[in-house]
């Protein structure tokens, strides 16, 4: 299974390196969302600084949608999905591989968007390790859930409008938890619910969806 996962992840990432879609389109899209927030909100009254964690994660979520769609489009040509299915690769490995490729792209994106937020929204980071932990577990969950729903919607013509409708409500708790954890990383204060609790919730989400993928990706591919 691990070998298949590395194989698939490597393939997806190599395709990305060659086509640079994430680099040239998804990344700029994410930054654009940050800029649009500045237009929509008032940059002078400190709203952006206070809302920065939430705005960051919303931008990540929208960009994740694009990254997942891209991950599906890579195999969108006729017959390629069937070929993958018949190739004898372990479905759990395929799932891990695709999710890992999406996760890597998202992590790079988060670094870029994080820099964007620090620069554009005048943000000061106090607890960097909390941020890193939040980013890692949130990304794992996003990539896993995204790959699962992606597989569900893969062959459908309405995939482009259906996938956001399916995925966004499910990752809402990730948005809530990641934002709260990031908030305490930026302000350094702890609230009644500690950052540790939020990180725990993010980890639970990631574990649940990764486990689901390992168990159920095979049947999902059969359509």
């Amino acid at each position: 299974m691990w070998r298949d996962a590395v194989l698939v992840a490597g393939k997806d990432l190599r395709i990305e390196l060659r086509s640079r879609i994430a680099l040239q389109q998804v990344g700029p899209f994410g930054v654009l969302v940050l800029v649009l927030f500045a237009f929509a909100l008032d940059p002078d009254r400190g709203i952006l600084t206070r809302a920065a964690p939430g705005l960051f994660w919303v931008a990540v979520l929208f960009s994740a949608l694009l990254a997942v769609q891209r991950s599906l489009a890579v195999e969108g040509a006729d017959g390629v999905r069937d070929a993958v299915r018949l190739s004898g690769l372990d479905p759990a490995g395929i799932f891990l591989g695709k999710a890992a490729a999406v996760a890597v792209q998202l992590l790079v994106l988060e670094v870029v968007l994080g820099a964007g937020v620090v620069l554009l929204y005048d943000v000061h980071i106090v607890g960097i390790w909390t941020l890193v932990a939040a980013a890692l577990s949130a990304t794992a969950g996003l990539a896993a859930a995204g790959s699962l729903y992606g597989a569900l919607a893969a062959g459908l013509r309405v995939r482009e409008t259906l996938l956001p409708l399916l995925l966004l409500p499910v990752v809402a708790p990730v948005l809530i938890a990641a934002t709260r954890a990031s908030e305490s990383a930026l302000t350094g204060t702890s609230f009644e619910v500690s950052a540790g609790d939020w990180l725990g919730l993010l980890a639970v989400f990631a574990v649940l969806y990764i486990a689901f993928g390992l168990l159920a990706y095979g049947p999902l591919l059969e359509d």
Partner: protein, 234 residues
């Protein structure tokens, strides 16, 4: 059909009883929502649970049967209806207490998320597909949504306890006397009967639709065959 009559009668009785409840000090006439809102909320949860359970029964190879898929899909549609009504009636009920149409308290927010999940499931089911494919796809989607429900619960309740110490309890204090409780209980019964009746008929419609699709498919295949025969003879 006696189920339909029972549903109709209890629903009408609930409305009459509910609308004639006395006004309360805290909520004036808004406390009359107690007759319908809790019953609707309860039914929404039941309907969602039925969908989840039926999906699991379909996915489990030993219990797989077409009837579970039809049940899951039908109940989901009803769950969407009742969840939407829950949000509407809840919003109306809370207006005098909150002063606004919507507050982001834990229960309302969780219900709104539930509605979003249900709408996604309904949309997925509407994608044209063979019954087997549709069944598996829908059941997977139902499970994926089921898995997130407990996570949602913690995320939203933790989030909202930071900002609102008191949980918004809609029942006015001086109202737990007989008539209010009676109205609420009747409402539970009425909504459950209504759901049951609607479910029976929705499943029937689903079966008829699948049967019609099968016939249409067979007709198309027959026509294709008839076209092919002269060519084979030539």
């Amino acid at each position: 059909m006696s189920l339909g009559i029972a549903a109709l009668v209890t629903l009408a009785a609930t409305c009459v009883l509910g609308l004639t409840l006395p006004k309360t000090v805290e909520q004036a006439e808004y406390s009359r929502m107690i007759a319908i809102h809790p019953g609707i909320a309860w039914t929404a949860y039941v309907a969602s649970s039925v969908t989840a359970l039926a999906s699991i029964l379909w996915l489990w190879p030993r219990t797989r049967h077409e009837r579970w898929d039809l049940l899951a899909g039908s109940s989901a549609e009803l769950a969407t209806l009742f969840t939407a009504l829950m949000l509407i009636t809840g919003s109306i009920w809370g207006r005098p207490t909150w002063g606004v149409w919507w507050v982001w308290d834990a229960r309302l927010t969780l219900s709104a998320l539930m509605l979003a999940l249900l709408l996604g499931y309904d949309a997925l089911r509407r994608v044209p597909a063979e019954p087997d494919v549709r069944a598996r796809r829908s059941a997977m989607a139902a499970l994926l949504a089921l898995v997130v429900v407990p996570v949602n619960h913690f995320a939203v309740t933790w989030w909202r306890t930071l900002h609102q110490g008191r949980s918004l309890d809609l029942t006015p204090k001086d109202s737990l006397d007989g008539s209010f409780l009676a109205a609420m209980t009747l409402g539970f019964l009425a909504m459950t009967l209504v759901y049951a009746w609607l479910l029976v008929h929705r499943v029937r419609v689903a079966r008829l639709e699948d049967a019609r699709d099968d016939l249409a498919l067979e007709a198309a295949i027959d026509e294709r065959r008839r076209e092919a025969i002269p060519v084979a003879g030539a």
